[in-house]
Subunit: 410 residues, 2 copies
């Protein structure tokens, strides 16, 4: 017997959405695997199809929030799994190359993007309603931040998490998130001071506070976390209730994800830190074992939601307005790729495949879209700039898995 | 870096809610287990605590919908697990005793409830604004429907799913849901025709259609489902993508849950049918194995949400209005228990513990609350009748697990 409430997303629709995600996701993944392509590309494609068919609620539709929250849990679990497989000391040992990769991967795309906007402005592709400087700044910023979810998934699929390239990529992704936070503070400050009609200026104290919070979290998570984690999990493992160890590990992950977000970082950075800490416990293998089916359930939801956010109508070349958007998107896409490929050279001191490191840094995601949304909301970007940026983000997401497969498979 | 939107339940709050559910749930379960009490009672208590502390969003608050949907997934997974452990032929072999148990368990509480309302009306405990007949009808109906989630969980904890008592309870619960559906159609029809100022009458054709749909679902699920399920899961098992078998089984469950709801039944009846069908496949053991951690994550959410719905302020005896509510609730509670204990006698033809069967049928839940809400919305019940009914439902939920533990533990 059912209790129907028209104001809510019905449990029936939710069951069907989950079943569609699982079925279409696995069927397409299986096809991609058969053709020696990344599973995750199958899930992204499934997302595009389900989103286009309306089987997944899009932003603003009832039920979107539920699936979005589950997808965030999914990517947190993914990064937790990756953290469990990663040795913190080895990660710290490639700290310097990771830092160089992260900095190059921010600086090069930023300046390439910044100057391209001036160039494209002259060619008439960018028609800023606000100052071209702010537009260039925002587009440059959008190009900087790597979203590590896609790469992490492919590295895990390829069974390459122990490789030095993977460690540099993961280390650089953490640093990249901190840098992204600082850039957001600066660019956000510049845009809002300009919108208020004030002189364009940066408040260094607030930038310092934001940076301090982020480093504070990372420091506390790793240093304080190490002190009590081992004992905590010996206690949790001694509890008699069914599933205590698994739920303990998940709770630990979720609390770290919350704390990371509280410090202004992405929740996945916290989840990754939780994994790094639990990697040192005696319960690591048991946790991995029990986590696997849970990961199998939640992780596809993330990648399918990423795919579902793609609006394929922008690619219709018969709509005249789309052509300018597509050209701009392709230019930005080329910059996005070159900028991150160059970043791989930051690992010059290591005997590692720099091309693979560069490819691993290519995918952009949420953070880039935060810049783009901010730009749109404040009028610094117009809707075609915004569309071009979202297309660029999508393309980086779809190109990285096959490239990594090609260049990193022995 | 975080994207904050004040209109939405934040991902941070969601992480904290999940962590609270897992941590407080497991800590209390572990304490209950140590004192040889049911784990599920620990989770219900955890729910009461978390709800009272405001750590779980209640009905109408942001985030409630998400946790409610996850809790429905949890109870569907529980009934699927129970179905996997149940042999359909053995279930059908106790079909007749199950039918008698179900019918007695509906008729006895209904008439006890119906006549008590007249008695209590004379004593001044019930002051109906509408006709006493309709009030009596609604309260009687609220007392009829068993909610099998709690019992199923305790039977599983006790490792008693293979016992004949468990089969009778499960069979009776399925039949009970169909009867509940018919009663809802009849009582709902009577109330709405009376509200429209028409003669109180029943449209037998619509009741027949509703009944037909419910039986149609059960028939198709079991008969048609048996034809293709084995082959389908051989195919799914052959897929190469990670987690295909688990996600296939979950999708199958969710589709059956959806179809059951579409036929007017509770989604858990569909999930149970899905489990019964997969119990016959060669992949059963593998599915059980991979489902366990997923069940460990989702199932506690259901029981904690049940606990969180308890409003402990009704039990405060220093508020004068509460006393009449508590007395009425206790009377209804006694009727609820006696009515279902008597139902156990329906299994007279079997060598089974009738007391255990009766106890297993005690918990009321969602379906009872649907009747109560309908009564409140149409003015047939006033708010203290309604409160008393919800207290009765809660009490049956909390009393059944310790009674079952006591009388069914060898």
């Amino acid at each position: 017997m059912s209790l129907d409430d028209p104001n809510h997303y019905s449990i029936g629709s939710f069951f069907i959405a989950l079943a569609s995600i699982f079925i279409v996701g696995k069927v397409l993944s299986s096809i991609f695997v058969r053709f020696k392509q990344p599973e995750v590309l199958g899930e992204l494609t499934a997302g595009v199809i389900l989103g286009t068919l309306g089987l997944i609620p899009l932003l603003g539709q009832p039920g979107h929030e539920v699936l979005f929250l589950l997808s965030e849990v999914g990517v947190a679990i993914l990064l937790f799994e990756i953290g469990l497989e990663t040795d913190l000391n080895e990660l710290l040992s490639v700290g310097l190359p990771s830092l160089t990769v992260a900095i190059l991967g921010v600086v090069v795309p930023f300046f390439l993007g910044f100057y391209s906007v001036y160039l494209l402005g002259d060619l008439g592709f960018i028609s800023s309603e606000s100052s071209l400087f702010l537009t260039a700044l925002t587009i440059g910023a959008t190009l900087t931040a790597t979203s590590v979810g896609i790469t992490a998934r492919v590295l895990s699929e390829l069974n390459k998490l122990k490789a030095i390239e993977s460690k540099v990529i993961l280390g650089a992704a953490v640093i990249d998130d901190v840098i992204g936070l600082i850039i957001l503070a600066i660019v956000g400050g510049l845009i809002s001071s300009s919108n208020l009609g004030q002189d364009v200026s940066i408040e260094f104290s607030s930038v310092a506070i934001i940076t301090g919070k982020a480093f504070g979290f990372l420091f506390l998570a790793i240093v304080i976390g190490r002190l009590f984690t081992t004992k905590l999990f010996i206690f949790i493992h001694s509890l008699k209730a069914r599933g205590s160890l698994l739920l303990g590990a998940l709770s630990y992950t979720f609390i770290f994800a919350f704390l990371a977000q509280f410090a202004g970082l992405a929740p996945i950075i916290g989840a990754f830190a939780a994994g790094l800490l639990l990697a040192k416990t005696n319960q690591k293998t048991l946790i991995e074992d029990r986590l696997k089916p849970v990961a199998d359930v939640f992780i596809p939801i993330f990648f399918i939601m990423v795919g579902a956010a793609v609006d394929i109508s922008v690619f219709n070349p018969f709509i005249k307005e789309n052509i300018a958007v597509i050209i701009l998107a392709l230019v930005l896409f080329v910059i996005a790729i070159i900028g991150k490929l160059v970043s791989g050279l930051g690992a010059f001191s290591l005997k590692a495949n720099k091309l693979v490191i560069g490819i691993g840094m290519i995918p952009r995601g949420e953070v880039g879209l935060i810049f783009a949304s901010m730009g749109l909301a404040t009028g610094v970007l117009n809707s075609s700039d915004y569309s071009a940026l979202t297309v660029m983000v999508m393309l980086t997401t779809f190109i990285a898995p096959p490239l990594l497969y090609h260049f990193f498979k022995d």
